[in-house]
Symmetry: C2
Subunit: 245 residues, 2 copies
């Protein structure tokens, strides 16, 4: 696949409606890119794909690399991935998600109606992540699943700071429900032992921000999946903002 083409499996509205019993094998997903995020069957944890490696970050605090062998058996009911080829790289000190948002908007302007892929590498002063799932029962929606999320304030390492990487996507407002409108960030530490869906952060000094615009989207909808076929898939802007913002 071409660089900076977004591949997405299923839609966020399906997770909102609790569609998470089946999915795409990670082996297939990883053929579409090396930079991504998503979740697992029954919404069991947060997925991050960094440099082609797929990690599961769970509500119990565990972070696990999914081996190539496991990738044939493990499925995702929702994921976004791209072969990331940044077109702009810049160093900056950031006070949080809003500053990152403004920085990206200025860095790559006139892109409010397309997708962005981005990555932030460096040392962070503070990082707050959450991990959610799994569903209590089949069909439980994302809002209910996230009501039981665990929030982690990552502890600085000895010597200070938290070395890690943000993997993120920005999705256009008019595609809310297909994707998560706005910025969606997952984080993992350099030692790959901690991480999750990013709620907040502050960088220690300057970090490296890389970004690319994406105008091509390959959307694969679940096929032969009764749960998806019966889903209501009503847009729930407020609900999605509340749990994925």
């Amino acid at each position: 696949m071409e660089s900076n083409t977004l591949f997405q499996y299923s839609v966020v509205s399906a997770l909102m409606d609790g569609v998470a019993s089946n999915g795409l094998p990670l082996q297939t997903l990883s053929q579409h890119g090396n930079h991504g995020l998503g979740t697992f069957r029954r919404m069991a944890g947060e997925m991050i794909i960094i440099d082609g490696q797929i990690y599961s970050m769970k509500a119990d605090g565990s972070v696990t690399l999914i081996s190539s062998t496991e990738q044939t058996e493990t499925v995702t009911p929702y994921a976004m991935v791209t072969r990331f080829s940044p077109t702009i790289t810049k160093k900056v000190k950031l006070g949080g998600k809003d500053e990152l948002k403004d920085f990206l908007t200025n860095l790559i302007p006139r892109t409010s109606n397309n997708y962005l892929a981005f990555r932030v590498d460096g040392v962070f002063k503070s990082v707050t992540v959450r991990a959610a799932g799994p569903q209590k029962e089949k069909g439980e929606g994302l809002v209910a699943v996230c009501a039981r999320q665990t929030v982690f304030e990552l502890e600085p390492e000895e010597g200070g700071g938290i070395g890690g990487t943000i993997i993120g996507f920005r999705s256009p407002a008019f595609l809310q429900g297909v994707s998560v409108a706005g910025d969606h960030l997952h984080f993992i530490t350099d030692d790959r032992k901690r991480g999750g869906h990013m709620l907040g952060f502050e960088t220690e000094g300057e970090v490296e921000v890389q970004v690319a615009g994406m105008w091509r989207v390959e959307l694969e909808l679940p096929k032969d999946d009764e749960e998806f076929e019966n889903a209501k898939l009503v847009g729930d802007n407020e609900g999605i903002k509340a749990v994925e913002g």
Copy 2:
């Protein structure tokens, strides 16, 4: 491209917002399929792609084949196309769009959350089509353009009936704004001299209906297109239903 993968250029919300000054060359579009519909720069008429041939059907009643040479210069601001490979073919007598809708739903059930491509070939007792455009001025939205549409009741040929083909897509409700939710039908006569966006019809006797489900979508958003970048792209369900239903 694989059979029954939907390729779409831009989104209907962009047409609603009047984004139609630029677009994808038809030569590129036709690489993605042989069955499709759309419009042209400045929304100048209805496009139908049948058996790989692209026709322009205008509000003045003219129907023109776009030659291969012209396909390099002619652009579309919105089009859907697929390499159509029907999985079900059946003969049926139909009283109109609602009957076609019900027939398709029964023919290929459990597909309300994915796309369908379909085609209807045969002799029609009556056919009502419209053709709209072009925009009066740059930025004029689809609703205003369609307020000036011309409606044609096609006359039966000598010997009775109107031989022709419907090229259609069904789009899922949750993708309203990206595509036109529900059934979207364009029609052209066997002699390729009349046609347009189909408003109503009745078949003479049985016609052949062919259909295929589509679960893979390739969406290409306009790049380096200032008009698209500045578009509001607000979902306008009622507006789209009014002009494209």
